[in-house]
C-alpha cells in the first residue's frame, strides 16, 4: 500500500499529461471538421460503414461532440463524462479504420476533417489505439482530477463549508 502511495504523484502527473494531449487533439480535430462539414461528410461516406441517412447527422454532430469532450477533459469539467466520450469515439474510430484497412480501401482518414492529404495506414490505427488507452487511463483516474475546474470548485465549497 505504501508503495502505491509512492507512485501516486507519478500516476496523477501521467493522467494530467494524457488529459492535455487528448483534449488538445479532440478540440483541434473537432474545429477542423466544423470548418467544412461537407468534406467531413465525404470522408465518413468513404468508409462505407454507415447507411446514407446517417452520414449528414454524424457529420453535423460529431465535430461538436469532439469539441465538447475535448474541452471537458482539458478543463476538468465533467471529466469522467468527457473521458468516456473520448474513449468510446476512439474505439469506434479504431474499429472503422481497422475494417477499412482490412478491406483494402484507399481512402482519406478524415481524422482531422480534410479530404486532402494522405490515405489511411496501419500507423493511424496504432495511433488511435494508443489514444484509446490514454483515454481509458484518464477515465479510470477521473474521480481524482488535479488542476481541474471541478477540483477548484470542490476546494472552494470545502473551504466555505468549514
Amino acid at each position: 500500500m505504501n508503495r502505491l502511495h509512492t507512485f501516486l504523484p507519478v500516476i496523477w502527473l501521467v493522467s494530467m499529461l494524457f488529459r492535455l494531449v487528448l483534449g488538445a487533439v479532440f478540440v483541434y480535430a473537432g474545429i477542423e471538421k466544423v470548418m467544412d462539414p461537407a468534406a467531413f461528410a465525404i470522408d465518413i461516406s468513404n468508409y462505407r460503414l454507415l447507411p446514407g441517412w446517417m452520414i449528414n447527422p454524424v457529420a453535423i454532430a460529431l465535430p461538436w461532440i469532439e469539441i465538447f469532450a475535448g474541452c471537458s477533459v482539458l478543463a476538468g469539467v465533467f471529466l469522467p463524462g468527457g473521458a468516456l466520450i473520448i474513449s468510446t469515439l476512439l474505439l469506434l474510430f479504431a474499429t472503422a479504420l481497422g475494417i477499412s484497412l482490412f478491406r483494402g480501401l484507399d481512402i482519406s482518414c478524415g481524422c482531422f476533417g480534410s479530404t486532402a492529404g494522405q490515405g489511411i495506414t496501419w500507423w493511424y490505427l496504432v495511433r488511435d489505439i494508443i489514444l484509446f488507452l490514454m483515454g481509458c487511463t484518464v477515465l479510470l483516474l477521473s474521480h481524482h482530477p488535479h488542476l481541474s475546474v471541478d477540483s477548484i470548485i470542490r476546494k472552494i465549497r470545502g473551504d466555505s463549508s468549514r
Partner: protein, 174 residues
C-alpha cells in the same frame, strides 16, 4: 467493507457518473451543432445523404468537373493530360490512354513531369474509380497547392470511361 469491494464500488460509481455526464455533454453538443448548422450558409441537410465528391467539388467552386463526352473529345484533340489517382495495381490493370499514375502520396515526386505536360498547353484532368471515390479530389487539392491552375475532375472516373467503351491502356506507362 473490504478494500477490494470498496474499489469496485469506487469504479462503478465513476462509470455511472461518467455515463450520465457523457449523455449530458453529448446532448448539449448536439443542440449547439444543430443551431450552428442552421445558421451557417454551407450547413448540411440533417436528413439528406452526404454529398458525393463531385458535388462537393462543384459546390466548393475549387475545381471544374468534366463529363465523359468532353473528356473523350479532349483526348482525341490531344488537349488533356489524364492523371490517374488510383493505386499502381489498379493503374496497371487498366487506365485511360496516356494517363500518368499519381496517387496522393506520389504527387510531390511527379510535379516536374506534370509541369512539362501542362507547359505544352494541356489541361490536367484527374480521375479515380468513379463518382463515389475521393482520390481525384485529394490529388486535385494537392496539385492546386503546388500551383497547378485549371485542374478538372473527370467525375465518371475509370468505371464510366471503361463502360462507355472508350479506348484504354494496360500495364505500366511506357
Amino acid at each position: 467493507m473490504s478494500l477490494q469491494s470498496e474499489r469496485y464500488h469506487d469504479l462503478a460509481g465513476t462509470l455511472r457518473t461518467a455515463f450520465l455526464q457523457a449523455l449530458l455533454l453529448a446532448l448539449i453538443a448536439i443542440l449547439i451543432a444543430a443551431a450552428f448548422n442552421a445558421c451557417r450558409p454551407n450547413g448540411l441537410k440533417w436528413l439528406g445523404q452526404g454529398p458525393l465528391p463531385e458535388e462537393y467539388a462543384k459546390g466548393s467552386g475549387t475545381f471544374e468537373t468534366i463529363n465523359l463526352e468532353d473528356a473523350f473529345s479532349g483526348y482525341t484533340q490531344g488537349t488533356l493530360v489524364f492523371i490517374d489517382a488510383r493505386s499502381s495495381t489498379a493503374f496497371r490493370s487498366g487506365h485511360l490512354p496516356g494517363a500518368h499514375n499519381i496517387p496522393p502520396e506520389n504527387v510531390s515526386s511527379c510535379i516536374d513531369t506534370l509541369r512539362g505536360a501542362t507547359l505544352l498547353g494541356k489541361t490536367p484532368v484527374v480521375y479515380c474509380d468513379g463518382p463515389g471515390c475521393d482520390l481525384s479530389l485529394r490529388v486535385a487539392s494537392l496539385l492546386a497547392e503546388h500551383g497547378f491552375p485549371g485542374i478538372q475532375i473527370l467525375t465518371a472516373g475509370w468505371e464510366g470511361w471503361y463502360d462507355a467503351g472508350f479506348p484504354i491502356e494496360q500495364g505500366e506507362r511506357p
